[in-house]
């Protein structure tokens, strides 16, 4: 782990109502690699992921303490500009949620709200990102069709293209393949692997095989704490912690 950290989490604690969801999280997420967050359901994986782009802010009764540094900038600082932080990260949720508009407008939505108005520029952006996600040939003749007409796998790739169109540095995936069929899953996984040349990718997954296939590093979270963090092979095949060993073997879930 010699790369410069892209996201640094320092003493992060998250409470929702009277539940302590994340307990003193400290971690450095390396640049330009795929990191998987694994752990049993309800352990705080998704909360950890959403703390990276401040999507937790709108949760009722939430209390967040500690720092999350993205490019050395504390995103929880009082003067942090939240839209700017979120623009740096694309989010891919469990199920695709295309915006209620056409395929074209879905990809152009982000660039438009950030001030790109020129048709030619938008056209090019849309084409580039749809090509990057392998969707261009499938949709180029029906860009004005509703995004909801696409298959669920195509929708998920569209959501990825939509996220990439705002020029993020980081991609966050929250069990992004859990609603997809095996073929679509494989396409998305391959995309993650090819995209890590340009982006830092943080994935939440509960499929250990997927974590092994795509990620360079693994974070194991259990009961709101980070139990182990290290290179994929090490964590999965030769875990240092007893809890990790039990989880990987399937004793705890």
């Amino acid at each position: 782990m010699t790369q410069t950290p892209h996201i640094s989490v320092q003493h992060l604690n998250v409470h929702i109502a009277d539940q302590h969801i994340l307990k003193d999280i400290n971690i450095h997420i390396p640049d330009k690699s795929v990191i998987s967050i694994i752990g049993p359901s309800g352990c705080g994986k998704t909360t950890l992921l959403k703390s990276f782009n401040r999507l937790l802010d709108n949760t009722p009764d939430i209390k967040i303490t500690g720092n999350v540094l993205v490019d050395k900038e504390n995103i929880y600082a009082p003067d942090a500009e939240v839209t700017h932080i979120r623009k740096k990260m694309g989010l891919l949720s469990q199920r695709p949620y295309p915006l209620p508009m056409s395929i074209y407008d879905n990809v152009a939505y982000g660039p438009r709200i950030h001030g790109i108005r020129k048709k030619a520029e938008l056209d090019e952006l849309v084409e580039t990102q749809l090509k990057a996600t392998g969707l261009w040939n499938e949709v180029k003749d029906r860009l004005n069709a509703s995004a909801t007409r696409l298959s669920i796998g195509q929708q998920q790739r569209l959501c990825l293209a939509r996220g990439l169109a705002v020029g993020p540095e980081i991609i966050l995936g929250d069990e992004s393949t859990s609603a997809l069929d095996p073929v679509s899953t494989a396409i998305i996984e391959d995309l993650f692997i090819s995209l890590k040349e340009k982006y830092t990718i943080v994935l939440v997954t509960h499929i250990l095989r997927q974590a092994r296939r795509v990620s360079d590093y693994i974070i194991f979270v259990y009961m709101g704490k980070i139990i182990e963090f290290g290179p994929t092979e090490e964590v999965l095949l030769n875990p240092k912690e007893e809890l990790t060993k039990e989880y990987v073997k399937g004793y705890i879930s």
């Binding site: 782009n53 999507l55 709108n58 949760t59 009722p60 009764d61 939430i62 839209t83 700017h84 979120r86 623009k87 990260m89 694309g90 989010l91 949720s93 469990q94 199920r95 949620y97 295309p98 915006l99 209620p100 508009m101 056409s102 939505y109 982000g110 709200i113 950030h114 509703s146 995004a147 909801t148 959501c159 939509r162 996220g163 705002v166 966050l172």
Partner: protein, 281 residues
């Protein structure tokens, strides 16, 4: 085994019976209005205002009330939407952390929803006295707006709550501001907005009590907000109260007109709902 089958049969019969009663009364009501109203229905009814002696059976029509009702219900629905959409968005998108406050507001609107329309009429009347407004189109619009706001807010609130939180997160994670996210949500709920409009307009155009003191009544088509305006429900009330058979018949014809207006609005909003559901996820 026999008992279970009997039970099944009993409840199925009960459901069929209830459905027949509901559907039957619908056809009975519409049928009666048609039967009694159609003989008195003519072009004069919808193109002329009451002439001298209209209420003792001489010539004229209820154009004054048709236009008055459309103005009152239309004006109130538009004004109500302008107030309700921001309220519904605010409760749902800007009050995330303050659950107590948003729930209190929702309850307040539920209470308002249940208040009888005569109370809105009386309240509107008080407002008018305070500002020195006479019984007028404006007064009617204000009272009916008060009446439809709870309907609009609660309907919009329910519709907004059906929008998956992930859709909001999707917009936010692209760097949208809350208002930009709210616009995405508004696109998603456009069909629901038409449902809300339909409900509010239907309630507004059919209500008597709220316009009784506030809009007044006039035999002329209102030409400004400060003139009194006739409304169809009141016109029906006056005509049905007449001993003259001709006038009573026109009362049913007016009821028929009101029903047809509501029918047109329903069909129109249905078409719009279908049209705007295209992109809905």
């Amino acid at each position: 085994m026999r008992r279970r089958k009997l039970e099944e049969l009993f409840f199925k019969l009960l459901m069929v019976l209830a459905t027949i009663i509901v559907a039957g009364s619908f056809f009975l009501i519409v049928g009666t209005i048609f039967y009694k109203g159609v003989p008195y229905m003519n072009l004069d009814m919808i193109t002329k205002t009451p002439g001298g002696g209209f209420y003792i059976g001489k010539e004229g029509g209820v154009l004054n009330a048709i236009v008055g009702s459309l103005y009152v219900a239309g004006g109130a629905t538009i004004l109500g939407l302008l107030i309700s959409i921001p309220v519904a968005l605010y409760i749902n998108m800007y009050m995330d952390g303050k659950r107590f406050l948003s729930n209190t507001l929702r309850m307040a609107f539920d209470v308002l929803f249940g208040i009888p329309s005569i109370v809105y009429g009386a309240f509107g009347f008080l407002i008018m006295i305070y500002f020195g407004i006479r019984a007028s189109l404006l007064g009617g619009i204000i009272a009916v707006t008060l009446l439809v706001i709870p309907i609009l807010v609660r309907t919009l609130d329910e519709v907004i709550r059906t929008v998956p939180l992930e859709l909001r997160d999707a917009a936010l994670s692209l760097g949208s501001t809350r208002w930009e996210m709210a616009k995405v949500v508004l696109r998603q709920i456009r069909p629901g907005i038409f449902t809300a409009i339909l409900l509010a307009f239907g309630r507004g155009i059919g209500d008597v009590a709220s316009v009784l003191f506030t809009a007044g009544f006039s035999d002329n088509v209102p030409t400004s907000l400060h003139e009194p305006a006739a409304t169809l429900p009141l016109a029906i009330f006056f005509q049905l109260g007449s001993p003259v058979e001709e006038v009573q018949g026109r009362g049913y014809a007016s009821a028929l007109i009101l029903t047809i207006i509501v029918l047109i609005i329903t069909v129109l909003s249905d078409i719009l709902i279908k049209k705007y559901s295209k992109h809905k996820i």
